[in-house]
């Protein structure tokens, strides 16, 4: 049963035509209606409802006055305060930070996958003695707290002239993403079917071709998940950006928001503006995530299954 060959996925055609319709197994839901479902479904929806409630609360708070936020936290705004967003955008100086952040996060995600995927592939599938210890070597890096390496790191970055440069931060982001990325992808590569790879190699495909044409597409769901996690992590990253970027024209959004929030609390405590600032940071990511979640993950996994 387990050896039955997997149908060939339509990996060359990009997003398959099935698109984001009903999930593959939905039609079969009825034959699976065990106790898990009976209890699980309502709980799942309760969880979802709570999260949506939080989202709505956050957006509502960004449209309220400060005293409304604290005195009637669960009510709708009496008068919608659009100017909170105007204040946040103007005083927060977000506009110049947005471009930096978009370039940096996308650049980091792409480069991380480009570097980590080949490494994860050879570590998980090649029978080389050093593979297992090397995997551990990468994994341990996940446990190194970023703030603890800052001082030695600053000395190294300064040596290479990489302080206060977006390039420098980009390299640093990629380097510090690697432990998680490599470790995460090894698991995905490890459980891919082996016979395809062997067949390709025996047919004379080079190792690189085998990797790019066969293995990479099969690990797509892992890679897309990794890309999303990576993007979100760096969209919100503050410690490295705070320390390694020094001039305002190179700041990222998260640091700008952090400063803005502290300033909002210090002068006049404009909590509505604070929430508006948070919305400016959070809503684009949420939109991208919803879009990616629907279009990419669903489409790709469907493509791989059918």
């Amino acid at each position: 049963m387990l050896l039955r060959k997997m149908p060939w996925p339509a990996f060359r055609g990009g997003v398959p035509t099935q698109g984001a319709g009903a999930p593959a197994g939905a039609a079969k839901a009825s034959d699976n209606a065990g106790p898990v479902k009976l209890i699980g479904l309502p709980l799942t929806w309760a969880f979802v409802a709570f999260n949506i409630f939080v989202l709505v609360w956050m957006v509502m708070s960004s449209l309220k006055t400060s005293s409304e936020i604290f005195e009637v936290p669960w009510n709708l705004p009496e008068v919608i305060q659009w100017e909170n967003f105007v204040i946040a955008w103007r005083d927060g100086n977000f506009s110049r930070a947005v471009l930096n952040t978009v370039l940096l996060t996308i650049g980091t995600a792409v480069a991380t996958i480009a570097v980590a995927a080949p490494a994860a592939y050879v570590l998980s599938r090649f029978k080389v003695v050093s593979a297992s210890p090397m995997t551990m070597y990468f994994a341990i890096g996940i446990g190194i707290p970023a703030q603890l390496v800052i001082l030695p790191l600053y000395a190294i970055m300064n040596q290479f002239g990489m302080v206060n440069s977006l390039w420098g931060l980009w390299v640093l982001y990629v380097a510090t993403s690697l432990p998680f990325a490599v470790f995460f992808l090894t698991g995905f590569f490890a459980s891919l079917p082996g016979e395809l790879e062997e067949a390709a190699m025996l047919d004379g495909a080079s190792a690189f071709q085998t990797f790019r044409i066969i293995m990479l597409p099969l690990a797509r769901s892992g890679i897309v998940t990794l890309a999303i996690l990576n993007t979100i992590a760096h969209w919100n990253e503050t410690i490295f950006a705070l320390v390694f970027l020094q001039t305002d024209d190179r700041m990222t959004l998260s640091v700008t928001l952090l400063n803005f929030m502290k300033a909002m609390q210090y002068n006049n405590a404009n909590w509505g503006g604070l929430f508006a600032g948070v919305c400016i940071l959070v809503l684009p990511v949420l939109a991208i995530y919803l879009w990616l979640g629907r279009q990419i993950i669903e489409g790709m996994t469907l493509g791989a299954d059918k």
Partner: protein, 297 residues
């Protein structure tokens, strides 16, 4: 005797591995070794370092706050970890063939992109003395509802918040694994007359073993260095939270990076080294426990 394939593999192994290994080593491992060195010194972050041997470790050994932080780290690791996995696993099972699954998954992930400050404000409204939770409890007849945000209780509320946030993350990972299980295996099972439990036992579990392992290792490692959440959540902006909510990562942060007094990079680094040792030990144990043959399909 190597087969041709193995020869080919050995040839390209280092080419594929080198870029990652070099970047990681130069920008992460070397600074980490620097941190190890600093842990044997007394150093305020600039100027002269003074070699003090293992004194920083001795200070920590006798510091009750260090042990408090150590216990909290383990609490987060086991209690939050256990709860997160149970819930994520349950969600994965439910979501596998549910209408609107990608929407649900996105919504569950949502807390991960929220800033800690916002979560802190929300949790304040929910859990403070006259917050929503206590209003419910009092309606339900409880006269003296718990003081959730008192420093003695706070770590529990922090853990609840962590479960809420991490569940979305680990559900995403588990589902990425579950999505790769071909549907036809379940169909084959169904044809052979297998029930829900048997499908789970003979298809889902073995095929997802690897992803479970990854998720478990990932949690072990990342839970030990959680700190921004606690900082934003339990402390007001710009202040350290009460020591009763600290974990090791926060202990490190407080020693050198909070801007409170002379930075003590020695003890901060020493505590990071302890964290790293903890990670190594736990991951080795976990890999031993999870070891079995990887199934391919």
């Amino acid at each position: 005797m190597d087969t041709p394939i193995q020869k080919e593999q050995k040839r390209i192994y280092w080419w594929f591995l080198a870029p990652a290994a070099i970047l990681y080593t130069v920008f992460f491992v070397v600074p980490a070794l620097g941190t190890l060195w600093i842990s044997f010194n007394k150093w305020p972050g600039a100027g002269d370092m003074r070699w003090v041997g293992i004194r920083n470790y001795r200070i920590m050994y006798h510091d009750p706050v260090f042990w408090l932080s150590f216990v909290n780290t383990l609490k987060i690791l086991f209690i939050v970890g256990g709860a997160t996995f149970l819930i994520s696993f349950g969600l994965m099972m439910v979501l596998r063939d549910m209408m609107g699954r990608s929407f649900v998954r996105s919504v569950l992930f949502f807390p991960n992109i929220l800033s800690g400050v916002v979560i802190a404000i929300l949790w304040g409204f929910l859990f403070q003395a006259d917050g929503l939770v206590n209003q419910f409890l009092m309606l339900a007849g409880m006269d003296n509802p718990p003081k959730w945000l008192n420093e003695n209780m706070m770590i529990n509320v922090v853990m609840l918040g962590l479960i809420w946030v991490s569940t979305g993350f680990y559900t995403t990972i588990l589902m990425a694994g579950a999505d790769r299980i071909p549907k036809h295996l379940y169909e084959d099972c169904a044809l052979a007359g297998a029930g829900t439990f048997q499908k789970f036992r003979f298809v889902t579990l073995p095929l997802m073993w690897e992803v479970f392992g990854i998720a478990a290792v990932l949690w072990t490692i990342s839970s030990i260095k959680i700190f921004e959440f606690i900082l934003a959540f339990a402390g007001a902006v710009g202040f350290l939270p009460p020591v009763k909510t600290w974990n090791l990562a926060l202990y490190s942060y407080a020693e050198a990076f909070s801007g409170e007094g002379t930075p003590r990079y020695g003890t901060a680094s020493a505590s990071a080294v302890v964290m790293l040792l903890l990670v190594v030990v736990l991951v080795l144990l976990l890999r031993r426990a999870m070891r079995r043959e990887t199934l391919q399909f």
